[in-house]
């Protein structure tokens, strides 16, 4: 019976199974969950993230102004009971813009992280499992993608995708974020494929792709979860940077990045156009990073950050 069995049945002296003497050994994931939830920073991060998600999706319901509405009597007005976060230079309510922008930033972060992690896991695992020409080809592509200046490529491609909506932007962001994780996963796969359970599956004639998806990738789940979490914040920061230069989310869509870009031009004279979206962005990234660090401590016994 494997260590990760949900329960171990201990035979009693009389030879009967179970009964009152049945002992439960916690499964790996339940013990991981317990370890994770013991981390104060994870709790703090999750709490803040939940609050931000509530604000992003429930907040607009309490807004006094619609997303498309303009208050022509109040251009660049500071925060007031009528406009909680003030107005921008076209009379739009910054509160509703910020909440919708927060929604978009969270979605972009999550989508990019998921796509990146999936691509990295597949490329890394296949390269590490097959080695030889497959590995050479995949690592060549990985190295080439690492050498390519991602910001420059994304900016060059921007005119071609300008009208295509933000989902294409998500795919492009993800296309330049998987490489380092893929290399790590390749290294782990090379060692994992020599484990008994993988060898047993191979000798039983299980196809290679099944071994990769059933045995190898699930055994790296802890690394992948941590990596995906950290990629959320990386993606949000990347989107902000690109949007600042006009290469990110485009009107009529807004994200925290595009709002920061708009507010930055008036940050000195009209700080409310910059402060609220920036503050929320920092809190969002901090919350995600707290969760990522906590997960790393809980899932990675070698983690140095557990001492942080």
């Amino acid at each position: 019976m494997s260590m990760s069995a949900e329960r171990a049945v201990i035979e009693t002296e009389s030879g009967h199974e179970g009964g009152d003497d049945e002992v439960r050994i916690p499964g790996r994931w339940s013990s991981v969950l317990r370890t994770t939830l013991r981390q104060r920073r994870v709790i703090a991060g999750i709490a803040v993230l939940v609050l931000l998600m509530l604000a992003a999706w429930v907040g607009p319901l309490f807004a006094q102004w619609g997303f498309e509405e303009r208050d022509y009597a109040n251009f660049l007005q500071p925060p007031s009971p009528e406009h909680w976060f003030g107005t921008d230079n076209t009379g739009r309510d910054i509160y509703i813009l910020t909440m919708v922008g927060l929604q978009k930033s969270i979605i972009i972060g999550l989508l990019v992280a998921v796509i990146t992690t999936v691509v990295a896991a597949v490329v890394g695992a296949f390269a590490g499992y097959f080695l030889g020409p497959t590995d050479k080809a995949m690592m060549w592509v990985t190295d080439l993608a690492l050498v390519l200046p991602s910001f420059l490529i994304l900016a060059i491609l921007y005119p071609a995708i300008r009208g295509s909506g933000w989902l294409i932007f998500v795919l492009l962001l993800a296309a330049f974020m998987w490489m380092i994780t893929a290399k790590m996963i390749r290294g782990m796969t090379i060692s994992l494929k020599e484990r008994e359970y993988v060898l047993a599956a191979r000798y039983m004639g299980v196809p290679a792709w099944k071994i990769i998806f059933r045995h190898i990738i699930p055994n790296m789940s802890s690394l992948l979860i941590v990596d995906a979490t950290i990629n959320v914040s990386t993606a949000i920061i990347a989107e902000t940077s690109l949007s600042y230069f006009g290469f990110g989310v485009q009107p009529p869509d807004v994200s925290l990045g595009s709002l920061i870009a708009l507010g930055a031009r008036q940050a000195v004279t009209h700080p409310w156009t910059f402060v609220f979206c920036t503050g929320l962005l920092i809190i969002l990234v901090l919350a995600v990073n707290l969760i990522g660090e906590g997960l790393r401590d809980a899932l990675d016994p070698q983690s140095k950050s557990r001492r942080a």
């Binding site: 940077s241 000195v268 140095k304």
Partner: protein, 318 residues
């Protein structure tokens, strides 16, 4: 050899992508009076940017020139090589001080934080580093600008300058010019240094914590060395090995891309050239920047590996 091939492929990819996506012809549409189609074609032919010429032909022409070390001319007709030389100098000036200040302060604070683990200093510095790492570079740069404006207004003196590398047309002699350049350099240098401090302090703290518990440090203390001597003479020296190689890597990467800081503070370095070349549809400049960035990444990776092997005898032996 592998590095050279990767650089070649990266540059080729960037050129082909830029040549097929950007439109130098569009630059002439806004001109008053608008040049004739023949004039535009002649000018674009001269610069090897004519979209009527097949892409393969333009690429062949471009790669032949690059092989001789000539990246061609920009959309304005100026030499890309000269422009690159100028801009690399600007970026180097900015990065050198920013990285040195950031890395040095980060290493010192990180190492001391590890020695004072879980004490107030450690918690504060770790928290500060964690916070800074959660703030985009763009936000750090803009926030510093806002703070500088507030300080300038409060004091009534232009202590901080935040547009350009120096004030053009300033007649103030050598010391006046130097002072003016320093005034302009404070904010962008600080913006870079803050980011570097955060990364290096966390990195150095982890490295130091790894080493503090090592046998050789315990042995040093058992042989009668004071804790301070054991930590600084043995632990810190060993913990600095990966940090020095990390510094080499970071420096190379930064040379290729302090885009946000340069653009926000109006410094005409390599980073801001990335944006400028795309906005002006300058295909040759985009390709040159890509090549430079690829070389920087590869050189950074190569030299950090070499340095690590040189500094760490365990790697040398293996």
């Amino acid at each position: 050899m592998n590095y050279v091939v990767l650089i070649f492929l990266a540059t080729t990819f960037a050129y082909l992508l830029a040549a097929s996506t950007l439109s130098p012809r569009a630059n002439y549409a806004e001109m008053q009076p608008r040049p004739s189609e023949e004039q535009i074609d002649a000018r674009l032919d001269e610069l090897n940017l004519n979209d009527k010429t097949p892409l393969a032909e333009r690429y062949a022409h471009w790669i032949t020139d690059v092989a001789t070390g000539d990246f061609g001319k920009g959309v304005t007709g100026s030499s890309i090589n000269e422009e690159m030389g100028r801009r690399v100098g600007v970026s180097l000036r900015l990065i050198f001080f920013g990285t040195i200040i950031g890395a040095t302060s980060g290493v010192l604070i990180g190492a001391y934080g590890a020695v004072r683990q879980y004490r107030l200093f450690d918690r504060t510095s770790t928290g500060a580093a964690f916070f800074v790492l959660s703030v985009p570079a763009v936000v750090i740069a803009i926030s510093l600008q806002v703070i500088a404006v507030a300080i300038n207004e409060a004091t009534g003196v232009q202590i901080f300058q935040y547009a350009g590398e120096y004030t053009t047309g300033l007649d103030a002699g050598f010391w006046g010019h130097l002072g003016n350049r320093i005034q302009h350099a404070i904010l962008p240098t600080l913006a870079l240094a803050i980011g570097q401090f955060a990364a290096f302090s966390r990195y150095q703290r982890n490295m130091m914590l790894d080493v503090i518990g090592s046998d050789f440090v315990r042995t040093a203390m058992a042989k009668g060395l004071t804790r301070r001597k054991a930590l600084f003479k043995h632990a810190l020296r060993t913990a600095l090995i990966p940090t020095v190689t990390y510094f080499t890597f970071v420096f190379g990467i930064m040379l290729a891309g302090t885009t946000f800081t340069e653009k926000i503070y109006g410094w005409k370095g390599m980073g801001s050239w990335v944006i400028d070349s795309i906005v002006t549809n300058d295909v040759n400049a985009v390709a040159a920047v890509s090549c430079f960035m690829a070389v920087c990444v590869m050189a950074a990776s190569f030299f950090s590996d070499i340095l690590y092997a040189w500094l760490d005898p365990r790697v040398r032996v293996s």
